[in-house]
């Protein structure tokens, strides 16, 4: 676990995420979210998950965010009259819900000696004998042997998504 990449990537991801959900303009939100996803990619690279880190940039920051941008610009979403956080009454509820969820999960993480004491690089290496390297060949080896069925089902899901989006957006003739 590389300390520098954790703090750099974590700060970028949290800042980008917070800005993305509070911007008035949807295009600005998308741009901040791209920044957050790049920060997540740095986090993945810091954990030696090279394949996931690259997929994160290609699929999330690239494909999905471009799709968001296309749709926002297609719909001519004018931010006219929208408050920064749209539902003032819900802001308290949102802060409470998000704060409670974060606090509970953080409390669990801090209270767990398995994750704090045994979670350092040295402890992981001593316990498992290795620090996993998520290179493409290694991930593909797992994917095409133990997890072949979920992988194939994912392809069916993607086909269903393609057919579904065409059917939903097609103009009725």
């Amino acid at each position: 676990m590389d300390d520098a990449s954790f703090w750099l990537g974590g700060l970028t991801a949290v800042t980008g995420g917070l800005m993305a959900v509070t911007r008035r303009n949807a295009v600005a939100s998308v741009m901040w979210l791209v920044g957050a996803f790049l920060g997540m990619s740095v986090l993945f690279l810091g954990m030696d998950a090279g394949f996931i880190g690259v997929i994160q940039v290609l699929v999330y920051a690239g494909a999905i965010m471009v799709l968001f941008l296309f749709v926002i610009m297609l719909l001519k979403l004018t931010p006219a009259g929208l408050a920064r956080v749209d539902r003032p009454k819900m802001t308290i509820a949102g802060i409470l819900a998000a704060g409670a969820l974060t606090a509970i999960l953080c409390a669990v993480a801090v209270a767990s000696p398995a994750w704090t004491r045994d979670g350092t690089d040295a402890a992981i290496r001593a316990r498992t004998g290795t620090l996993v390297q998520g290179r493409t060949a290694a991930v593909a080896d797992r994917l095409f042997s133990d997890h072949l069925l979920p992988f194939e089902i994912t392809s069916v899901l993607l086909l269903a998504a393609i057919v579904g989006s065409v059917a939903l957006t097609k103009r009725k003739v």
Binding site: V14, D86, A98, L101, L105, V132
Partner: protein, 102 residues
């Protein structure tokens, strides 16, 4: 500063999950609600990869790969629903789509 452990990554994942939840609960613009959802999926991915490293195997990476594929499919379908909603209502404000509220 203490060295970064698995707990740090779990806490960061929890914070990102909270930020995404805040966006989903408070926003009225459907596109930004969907962005909050994507952020929550990403927080789960981060926890998966951290646990993969913690337990010394690659199962978490495979899970993350499949979650990313599912997120792509979900984003495509959700955005086409928004286009259909926009054609029907002329906006994608969630308050305009309340017919099923009862």
């Amino acid at each position: 500063m203490p060295p970064v452990t698995t707990a740090h990554y779990v806490m960061l994942s929890a914070i990102l999950m909270g930020v995404g939840l805040f966006g989903v609960v408070t926003r009225k613009n459907a596109v930004i609600v969907l962005m909050g959802l994507e952020l929550m999926l990403n927080a789960a991915n981060l926890a998966f990869v951290a646990f993969a490293r913690h337990h010394g195997n690659l199962q978490g990476h495979v899970f993350t790969f499949i979650v990313i594929a599912v997120a792509a499919a979900e984003a495509a379908v959700a955005l086409s629903i928004m286009i259909a909603l926009y054609r029907l209502k002329g906006s994608i404000t969630l308050d305009d789509a309340q017919e099923l509220k009862g």
